[in-house]
Symmetry: C2
Subunit: 334 residues, 2 copies
């Protein structure tokens, strides 16, 4: 049922192949392009962080707490744990006089290896603020407090804040979110398996506000604009999401998730894109996403085309910097 | 053409799937088990490091240079760059009064994240000795010098030392190694795409010495015994190859390679195993290899069965240590 998404070449020979599914859909769920089976359920993982932040903005909490654009972008982020990321998460919590200990995402060394080594060299240990999900968690804590709830236990499916944001997820994707399709994510909040087509549909809606009430539609726009204005916050140094957003700005919202999931929202086209690399390989999701962006966007601007081709056909170099291979998207994506 | 090798579950739902090929063959190349297409060529990458070390031992260089078991095991290794690994590579070079600068593998931070952080905390930078291939490269330099060649440029396919070890690779695999199937490996030496069945056949021969001249057969045995005696050297802390070898000892030689390739040699059974995860995912190669070892070895010893089941059905935990999923081999491997 899966299609080829990307190939890895060593010299001129194919060394590895990534298969999976990719779909482009509009806000009604109508499919404009499908590779593989668009109905197969996938765990969206971190791709839906922006959707989980809708309530933070739509209900007015963000405004009441004076959350800034970098902070809203961080709420949508899988960040590198670089100093600016950790500091921004801390600032979100400072609005409520809360500290890192209220975050229930767990700690891990910064995803960015150089940042992790610098942290180690300073003699420090990583905390929850360095967790790539700390912005999302800080946003959930902000929402819980603004709603008058005790934030403790906000990662549970039964906590009122988690129930609130999950209901929004169910609405925007059009798919029931309950114990039957629930798994636990890396940062301990629930993640719900939904058809890939529904994920693409949700991001078409995220881009246009179509089928959403005005408050949510406005929140989606605010979040997209925050990420477009602060692309570093959504990922970080050297990362696909940050680099692509730096060039495309508000024309495309792109977001990776663990296990080879990736989404994009194209407001001008009214379309959403969702990709699942079946083996979980994020490198192939980036190649496939670059190809689908190049296909769908008006890339007549030279800088767009150059950027997207860089990600569509990445060169692979070895430890001496010698070019040893490359990647390329499947022809069906072109 | 590929078969399923392993699945990744989040809760009870399949999140990701790895496909590829696996083959068990004897020293004649006769296939005992095949999943997917055993004839499809793959780059063996680091799986053939032990085969590249045959000439170092067979020609007497190892003996003349008084190379020890840890040093021979390191010549077969993709190591973590832990202090003992780097020190052992340096000791190999000290036999010839050579320093790290003669290694042409390039430098990278130790693969083991904790080791990399400790190195950074010490204020040091990584060198070629930390490269996971430094033992192989030190072995090639030793061989070159013992043969009376200038080691400079030993990574080139045209260097006499590289020609010598490549001829041995061609002999033991039974496949021509030339510019048509050549790629460049991560550490800059050539790697040659060969049928997966030929790779398994080569490791059947490596385990028994069948079809090899007495010097090479003896060298294979010496190398297997060195790795069995020094399992830490072949990989390092927490690594599959090291942990499995610690329990199975000389009953199985196992070796991972980049891009989801893995081999094993089972001397008592006269068999070789070769696996290629098509997408390059090493996690699936480990699960599949554990299943094929459990199937093929006499695992009546309780400790073997327990160990192999740990690797066949690894638990996946998140940043808070909560169990969120697991992996399992395809039923066809059981």
């Amino acid at each position: 049922m899966d299609g080829i998404l990307a190939e890895v070449l060593r010299g001129d020979l194919v060394e590895s192949v990534h298969a999976g599914a990719a779909v482009i859909a509009d806000e009604t769920g109508a499919v404009r392009l499908a590779i593989g089976d668009p109905e197969q359920p996938v765990f969206p993982r971190s791709t839906v962080k922006a959707l989980l932040a809708i309530d933070l903005v739509a209900g007015g909490a963000a405004e009441r707490l004076h959350l800034t654009a970098p902070e809203l972008a961080l709420a949508c982020a899988s960040h590198n744990g670089e100093p600016a990321h950790a500091e921004t998460a801390a600032r979100m919590l400072s609005r409520l006089d809360l500290a890192e200990t209220c975050l229930e995402c767990g700690a891990h060394w910064p995803t960015d290896a150089a940042t992790a080594r610098a942290l180690a060299a300073s003699g420090a240990q990583p905390g929850a603020l360095h967790n790539n999900c700390s912005g999302k968690h800080a946003g959930l804590v902000c929402l819980a407090c603004d709603d008058g709830h005790d934030p403790a236990g906000y990662i549970s499916p039964e906590h009122p804040t988690m129930r609130r944001v999950t209901a929004t997820l169910a609405d925007i994707t059009g798919v029931a979110h309950d114990s039957r399709n629930r798994g636990i994510d890396g940062c301990s909040i629930p993640t719900y398996a939904i058809p890939l087509r529904s994920l693409a549909q949700a991001f078409a809606r995220f881009g246009t506000g179509a089928a959403l009430d005005p408050d949510r539609a406005h929140a989606c726009r605010t979040l997209r604009e925050a990420v477009a204005a602060e692309p570093f916050m959504v990922a970080g140094t050297g990362r696909f999401d940050t680099i692509v957003t730096e060039v495309l700005g508000a024309r495309a919202f792109v977001k990776m998730g663990a296990e080879g999931v990736m989404v994009a929202s194209l407001p001008e086209q009214g379309l959403g894109i969702a990709i699942k690399v079946r083996d979980g390989g994020n490198r192939a999701a980036e190649v496939a996403m670059a190809a689908l962006l190049a296909r769908t966007l008006d890339t007549s601007r030279n800088c767009d085309q150059t950027l997207l081709e860089t990600f569509m056909y990445p060169k692979l170099t070895n430890w001496r910097g010698i070019e040893v291979g490359s990647m390329r998207p499947a022809e069906t994506l072109l």
